[in-house]
């Protein structure tokens, strides 16, 4: 028996929220997306990219096909590049990832032994055509190492240090040969 006081109490709560939404800053939690954006989080991961060190013609990827084999929905297609004699080169001729199939699990990044494939922060990937424009080719996937530093500085520095150490170790064991 509250004699209808509970009604007034409830209504005062909503009125308070209503007034505060105009007076108190930050009480409306909606992010007005195209104009406003959430702050980029380093750990965020979406669609993969391929990383190259100096020039896009020489990516880190050696076309070992591990990521394509591990990919759960099988969205990666890799064809190894060959020279004039038909011998295999350590770089991919075709490297396609189908965005419409990719489920952004990040397993490709985890299994890559050459640290060539990484998950991107880009999430605005919509296109008008669902067949060709969603099938990402090598040119579209290749991003410089500086880009990786920009989006994931912690990971990128660690990986750079790791690669450098590897290089040093290689030089020590095989003096005279070029990497």
């Amino acid at each position: 028996m509250s004699y209808g006081l509970g009604i007034l109490k409830g209504m005062s709560v909503t009125l308070k929220q209503f007034v505060e939404s105009y007076t108190k800053k930050g009480s409306i939690v909606t992010v007005q997306y195209p104009e406003e954006r959430r702050e980029d989080v380093e750990r965020f991961r979406n669609f993969p990219i391929l990383v190259y060190d100096e020039k896009p013609e020489a990516p880190r990827c050696v076309a070992c096909d591990i990521c394509a084999k591990e990919c759960p929905p099988k969205c990666i297609t890799i064809v190894r590049d060959r020279d004039e004699q038909g011998r295999g080169l350590q770089k991919p001729k075709v490297f396609d990832i189908d965005l419409s199939v990719c489920m952004s699990c990040g397993i490709c990044e985890e299994v890559c032994p050459f640290d060539a494939i990484f998950m991107d922060h880009q999430f605005e990937l919509s296109a008008y055509d669902r067949m060709e424009s969603l099938n990402y080719h090598q040119e579209k996937l290749l991003k410089p190492n500086s880009y990786l530093h920009q989006i994931r500085p912690t990971d990128a520095t660690q990986i750079d240090a790791k690669l450098k150490a590897k290089e040093e170790a290689k030089k020590k064991t095989q003096p005279g040969t070029t990497a």
Binding site: G10, V13, L15, Q17, I28, V29, T30
Partner: protein, 386 residues
């Protein structure tokens, strides 16, 4: 000031004087009617459109959202975009539906709620039709909407529609009783059913001698307002269209503009009932300083805002709660309110105030005690199935 107060009346006069120059005299009364009808026919849908905007905006703010803000500045063009969307949608009629009744129901639901506007006193000399039985007309016509809702629910040949329509009927008939009882007090005191006369009876005290400031008026206002929220099927009394229970109730099978017409009826009803509550208890267009039509609009807007506010606050009633609230609380409260108004009318001032207040206070406390709230969770004893 006087000119501002009579702005719309003067506007009509100018139109009529202009028409006098080329129209024959016998046609002029018809033109006068036509002008009033046009004004209402423009005003009512426009009000409805912007009430939808207001509702979405206010409820959004109450839930810490922005509400519509994409189409036009502050989302002010949103109702127009919605209207275009509704008009271009496919109009689906179920195969098993009664086609004629299914088509007529949305029309029959909007027409009464438009007719309600004819007796509302929008300002001094601004009642479209000054009927002697204006209040009776209002109550009678507003009940027709119930029939149209049942038409829609029945003709759809859908279990949810029919259930919603049945619920609507049960609810509206129940709440019509305390609604009329609360209005009776005003009729008793004023001695007239004309809306103009009711507003005039509340003049004095610098335009603040409203009926809400009397004990019976306050209770009557609360009863009228609660019942009117129920009459227009708005939350917390929206069991006829309870989304979580029966899809969309009586308008489950309606789409496109027909669906919009049901909504239009709801919003027009909400506006008309708020306006009537303002007329009966809040002094209509009476008020100091501001022009009369502005006062009327302000009071109506406040009541409409309260309706939206209620929707933003409360969940839906259960059917049994709804019924017991109407019959066990509002109905006896309305009866004792009539008693209080009678005593108010027949005793001199200080005594009348004391008597009326005590009667109402005692009946309020008594009825609150007789209607236990909350659920009593007792251990069930099965006598035969053990």
């Amino acid at each position: 000031m006087e000119r501002l107060d009579q702005l719309f009346v003067l506007l009509k006069k100018i139109i009529l004087q202009f028409a006098e120059s080329f129209l024959p005299a016998p046609l002029l009364p018809f033109l006068s009617i036509l002008v009033s009808i046009t004004a209402i026919a423009i005003f009512a849908p426009l009000t409805m459109m912007y009430l939808t905007w207001l509702e979405r905006k206010v409820i959004g703010r109450m839930q810490n959202r922005f509400g519509p803000n994409r189409v036009g500045i502050y989302g002010l063009l949103q109702p127009i975009a919605d209207g275009i969307k509704m008009l271009t949608k496919e109009d689906v009629i179920p195969l098993g539906a009664d086609r004629v009744t299914h088509f007529l129901a949305p029309v029959a639901v909007v027409v009464p709620s438009l007719l309600l506007f004819s007796v509302l006193p929008f300002g001094r000399n601004m009642t479209a039709v000054n009927l002697d039985i204006g209040l009776l007309f209002f109550i009678a016509v507003s009940s027709i909407g119930t029939l149209a809702i049942f038409m829609g629910g029945w003709a759809s040949r859908n279990k949810f529609s029919l259930l919603g329509a049945m619920r609507a009927f049960a609810q509206m008939i129940s709440y019509e009783v305390p609604l009329v009882l609360s209005v009776v007090t005003v009729v008793m005191i004023v001695g007239s059913l004309s809306t103009e006369k009711i507003v005039e009876a509340q003049s004095g005290w610098g335009g603040l001698r409203w009926f809400v400031f009397t004990p019976w008026g306050f209770v009557g206002f609360m009863l009228f307002f609660i019942c009117s929220v129920s009459e227009v099927n708005r939350t917390p009394f929206d069991i006829p269209e309870g989304e979580s229970e029966i899809v969309a109730g009586f308008h489950t099978e309606y789409s496109g503009m027909k669906f919009a017409l049901f909504y239009m009826a709801e919003f027009l009803g909400a506006f008309a009932y708020s306006a009537m509550a303002a007329t009966l208890f809040l002094g209509g267009w009476q008020g100091p300083l501001l022009p009369s039509w502005l006062w009327f609009g302000l009071k109506t807007f406040c009541l409409v805002f309260t309706m939206i506010w209620l929707r933003g606050t409360f969940p839906r009633f259960r059917v049994d709660q709804l019924m017991s609230y109407a019959w066990k609380f509002l109905f006896p409260m309305g009866l004792s309110n009539i008693l209080a108004a009678g005593i108010w009318y027949h005793t001199p001032f200080p005594l009348s105030f004391i008597f009326a207040t005590w009667i109402l206070l005692l009946s309020f406390i008594g009825l609150s005690r007789l209607n236990p709230t909350g659920t009593r969770l007792e251990r069930r004893t099965y006598r035969f199935a053990e």
